[in-house]
Symmetry: none
Subunit: 473 residues, 2 copies
């Protein structure tokens, strides 16, 4: 059977995909028998003259598709047709021994950073677009652009926003190098030493760092299940006038909390009453797993009170470093000059590529496929977390890429994160987002970057470490 495998090295389909497909066909055609052992990785790699990583990746795909299974210390075998390995059954617990948890390749299972999975990036489509731009624009693709951004991209974004029910002026859209830069620019425009900024508690620490770098004082407003605690907010607004309120109303980071429509309107009402700006950080409102999507806060804004920051890093690809700002007229000039000072302009080449991408059918196709894949991971993460994390509790966000999990009594987030790390699983303790004792009560579980199998293995490890910590206590 091996003699028939032929890999084309023409730069088309990646080798591991070719290998996967041919092995899959062999198995499905019965050329390799049920429970028959596949060749060891190094041996096959040598025979095919490929890197062993290629074989590892092909075997992984076979495993994910339930075509083969592994025996610890022995190798990979063809899966019997009517059987499926029950990953949750405690019988194969030995599979989840520390050394396995870290993945067969020894790679850590990363449930800490909400980085999207590179396997989900639309590389082939992107490549087509890149080449199209290079054909079309030649050297012009690499010129400096005006600091506010490439006009056709801004137009494409304008159209995209309209689809999402946000009516804004084209002139108010500015291209930035990712959301973090947007937060930093707005901080430099709005904030001076001693100014107040209200933030959700818990919140994204990168934003807090930017506010503090301007000498601003941070006031934390508690987050409830349906958004900010508006009573606490109004109490604070009566005491002091912040330069802005920084919020993530859709699948908040780290809690996953999504503001109810009522809360969104209430927040805007308060901002009007006390004449305050809102800074909306929208990093993934597209990623809603319920039928009707989420409308950003900006869609409710009738009086230019919401500064809108959009990142494409989570829903598209982080490595592009492109996002955008929608700002009120009166800070336009200052935003322009700070943007210039920061990096002159965002990569013109990337702006051109994204512009073509947004206008193509690739974009919606991509968003749909992201939703599909992440909703599967979401459902599985919820399922395994409910089962494995006894005594822990969490809200179901129905979107986004994180769960915010409250620990059972006596288990502390820092100790949990350390224990998990020792077993090859990374999580983010709540202390990263919340000060003091309260931070020890939570951890953030991100399911964006790992496959369902690895999430399952990872969460199981977390559960085991949690049990051990309970006993100690």
């Amino acid at each position: 059977m091996l003699a028939d495998i032929k890999l084309l090295r023409d730069g088309g389909t990646p080798l591991y995909i070719q290998l996967y497909e041919q092995l899959r066909d062999c198995i499905q055609d019965g050329l390799i028998q049920e429970d028959e052992k596949l060749p060891p990785i190094r041996q096959l790699a040598a025979q095919l003259d490929v890197n062993s990583v290629t074989v590892v990746n092909a075997y992984k795909l076979l495993e994910e598709n339930k075509l083969i299974y592994k025996k610890v210390g022995s190798g990979s075998y063809v899966m019997p047709l009517r059987e499926k390995i029950n990953l949750d059954a405690s019988s194969d617990e030995e599979e989840l021994e520390p050394e396995l948890a870290a993945g067969e390749d020894g790679e850590l299972i990363n449930l800490a950073t909400a980085n999207p999975d590179p396997k989900l990036f639309p590389v082939a489509d992107f490549k087509r677009v890149v080449n199209e731009v290079l054909e079309r624009d030649g050297g012009n693709a690499f010129l400096y652009l005006e600091s506010k951004g490439y006009r056709p991209l801004r137009e494409a974004i304008h159209a995209y926003m309209q689809k999402l029910q946000m009516t804004v002026n084209l002139e108010d859209i500015y291209i930035i190098s990712g959301a973090q830069q947007g937060i930093d620019i707005i901080s430099r425009v709005l904030l001076a030493n001693g100014d107040y900024v209200f933030v959700e508690s818990p919140t994204y620490n990168g934003a807090v760092a930017a506010f503090k770098s301007r000498g601003a004082k941070i006031v934390e407003i508690p987050l409830m299940a349906d958004g900010l605690d508006v009573k606490a907010l109004e109490k604070m607004l009566k005491l002091m006038k912040p330069k802005c309120i920084y919020v993530m109303p859709s699948f908040q980071n780290p809690t996953g909390c999504t503001y109810s429509e009522r809360k969104r309107k209430h927040l805007l009402l308060l901002c009007r009453k006390y004449d305050v700006l809102v800074l909306e950080d929208d990093y993934l409102s597209e990623l809603s797993y319920l039928e009707d999507g989420i409308k950003p806060l900006k869609a409710y804004d009738r009086e230019d009170r919401v500064i809108y920051i959009k990142s494409f890093s989570k829903i598209f690809m982080p490595g592009l470093r492109v996002g955008y700002l929608v700002i009120p007229d009166n800070i336009r000039e200052r935003v322009m000059s700070v943007k210039y000072m920061t990096d002159i302009s965002t990569s013109g080449f990337m702006q051109r590529v994204l512009s073509v991408y947004l206008r193509s059918s690739f974009w919606e196709k991509h968003i749909e496929s992201m939703k599909r894949e992440y909703s599967l991971r979401y459902i599985e993460t919820i399922r395994i977390a409910k089962k494995a994390l006894r005594g822990a509790s969490f809200q179901q966000p129905y979107g986004g890429l994180n769960l915010w999990i409250r620990l059972p009594e006596g288990v502390y987030a820092t100790a949990l994160a350390e224990g998990c790390k020792a077993r090859g699983v990374l999580i983010t303790p709540g202390t990263v987002f919340l000060k003091g004792e309260e931070g020890e009560r939570y951890f953030r579980l991100s399911f964006a970057g790992e496959t369902i199998e690895r999430i399952t293995a990872g969460v199981t490890v977390i559960g085991e470490v949690m049990e051990r910590l309970k006993l100690k206590e």
Copy 2:
């Protein structure tokens, strides 16, 4: 003699260089006689089946090397061995009529911004590299990278620096999104309200804006023909201790001034004596038109006193937005956290592309071709400026992309820039770089972005506007 000319079209040596070299050999071997006329451009182009621009460029090189001379309205002739054409002769004026100024296509002639010419960007090579990276890395090309940058790129830069005689630690190299970001990051790391920064006078205004945004006070040190006025510098160093001295020792912007080796060493000596850091902004030390290249100040630095900022925008392509910093150990952590705050990291995709590019033969090929083309433009700009700008004076920088031109008495830079703009030619008045009256004495002429024909037309217009302003006065 023409029958012997053979041009290889293998993509190696450019055609015009091949043609130049073969004609040169013919002349030096006496195959074309002294004062013999060369074939007309179109005729030779047709015979060789090349674009007439190829012949124009070859003839220009011959002329630059004093192998031929021109007779107005007649053609090019072989130079008698013991004669030299007086470059300042004002005889072929009719060749440069006003209607040519705005270019035949009606586009403005931009001698204001030092943006490189997109026609010189190596788009085909770049495309090959982009596709190679996408094949090789797939979705991984778009992941977040650690804030300090993609290690293989940092390694390639490390090797490149060693070639340029700069011995630095790999660990001190940080990737940034262009030089402006580097200046901004260092400002945020080093400067607080009321701190002093010394700068060259005149200097790059984008840097001054970044320093001022931190509340720093700017102290201007005059620039002399061979670099900073070290006496004035030491006088100021005795009075106050700046957080850093910001310099561009190679083809300074706007003056084109290059520090002598003695001045470089003297500057470092003073910095040692007064314990001060230097911020070296190296945006085009590669672009030296003399035989021996320019060594950056960093190459002389033995005690980590020079913070080195390198941009690839001018020597490669601005639209990539990638550059790097070399920093001393003790500010490493602060640089990392400010970089993170600014934009998390520079585009991972662009970093991967540049990494492959720097390691390939494409890189040196590109630098060589940039040098060749820009040196032609430089020589022509000098020639026409000497002829057309009567009463003006300037130093010859032998590198870079700008001339800094002192105006004759009674002509003011702002009025000149306005008059030129009305005739379709853009220049940068000295007031952009220097305060008050002194700024009115100069303008910057950038020859990076236009062809020789358009530069010639543009400079002629400048000369005409200058004459008119003299008369008015």
